[in-house]
Symmetry: C2
Subunit: 227 residues, 2 copies
DNA sequence: AGACGCTTGTGCACTATTTCACATGACACG
DNA sequence: CGTGTCATGTGAAATAGTGCACAAGCGTCT
């Protein structure tokens, strides 16, 4: 007797695969809007910029089967992937820190489109609290708990300066947030049951810097640019 | 010129390692400012949120040796890593697209701190061109070539809407940009010699969504929150 | 001078991920 | 209804990345 309870224990999907699913989803939505009914793994691979075999293996983890000789049904696959990526319902998020970045994120369309509407804004600066940004009033940090309850949010975004990131994170966790996306350039720690992802903008540039530096170093002839 | 054949072909550093170097660098700078002279791999691992053995192996790729029984010399290591990550000189960047996100990036302190000062802003919208943002005048897309020459930029940031991302990328490439950081929620392609990294904000949330959804699914009892 | 404690550097095993290669099955067409 | 074409699904090999465990080296203290 393996498992009695639940429709499936559904073995976890590899992290690398999960990270690609949103890309597939985006490509699929695009195709769906273009009226296309099916896509092959090759097309989808192009859309996402990965290898076709990889696409097929990824989709096999979802138990999202295609039709041999034809491909995958676009709309069905959209449903399937959406379901895996946090259910079909919108997942409201709360942003802590409405500096430059926080403000930009507050009105970032992609969040809504991706099923993560911004439900609340919070800032520690009394100067900022009360202002209206992207149609929402910024509330004090102490309101976090209430805000989480009101909005039913389970996802928080940290967009504070680096030195305030851990504190902001702690507050979010205390308020009952279950997943945190940290944009502050600082490593933060969270208790086990909370999920965390770091997005470090400057770091991305530095990574690019390595490759560029390396190339320049290795190959002095680099004045040629494809026409 | 320096490199005849180079002092070393210097075997490439694994991508996973390169991605961690900026984290180490940040931690090291922090410690340096705190007046600390040396760090152990364990401390550095804490600072970056990774395994200590991993730190040591990473640093070994840089040929950045530490002292047994003591640790790594902070300032020396900073120099070493900075050098690997695109040289010691600032690397000016140009931002294409000054919508919400572009504006936020224009004044993002982390870029300057990371050695990537914003040297120019460009937008396709005539309405926006000419405006002053973060102390810089937004210039038309057609000025890209000139701007690259003037500023000596080799790095470009795409912060346009998705539908304009490929076009923006093409323009950057044509202007002689060598590395591109794409924030638009779209897969873009670049010719071989150009380096590209994608940062997709909504995607990050969706990845978090998977884990959360999965957990909620697997464990219906989740009303308990640590007090 | 010698012994001790601390920390590096790295071989090795293990895990994760990618990619190939191909058998298998589905559809369309005559 | 048989045949050809196409694209999936997947075993297995190749590749990448992680983390353990320990020998070796450095500095300090007596």
């Amino acid at each position: 007797m393996t498992a009695v309870a639940g429709p499936e224990p559904s073995e976890p999907i590899p992290g690398a695969t999960v990270a690609r699913l949103p890309l597939y989803l985006r490509g699929l939505v695009d195709r769906s809007e273009a009226g296309v009914g099916t896509v092959s793994s090759v097309e989808l691979a192009d859309l996402a910029g990965v290898n076709a075999a990889n696409v097929r293996k990824d989709l096999s983890y979802l138990h999202a089967h295609g039709t041999r000789g034809v491909g995958y049904e676009v709309d069905h696959l959209i449903t399937e992937i959406s379901l895996v990526l946090g259910g079909d319902e919108p997942n409201p998020v709360i942003i802590v820190g409405v500096g430059n970045l926080g403000r930009a994120l507050s009105s970032y369309d992609g969040f809504v489109a991706g099923g993560f509407p911004v439900a609340g804004l919070v800032d520690a600066d009394p100067e900022v609290v009360g202002r209206r940004i992207a149609g929402k009033v910024v509330r004090p940090v102490d309101d976090l708990g209430a805000l989480v309850t009101e909005t039913g949010s389970t996802v928080g975004i940290v967009a504070t300066p680096a030195h305030a990131a851990q504190e902001a994170t702690n507050r979010l966790v205390a308020a009952g947030i279950r997943s945190i996306l940290n944009f502050a350039p600082a490593v933060v720690v969270v208790p086990a049951p909370v999920d965390l992802r770091q997005v470090d903008l400057a770091t991305e540039l530095q990574i690019l810097g390595y490759h560029q530096h390396r190339r320049t170093d290795a190959d002095p002839v680099m004045s040629r640019v494809a026409g």
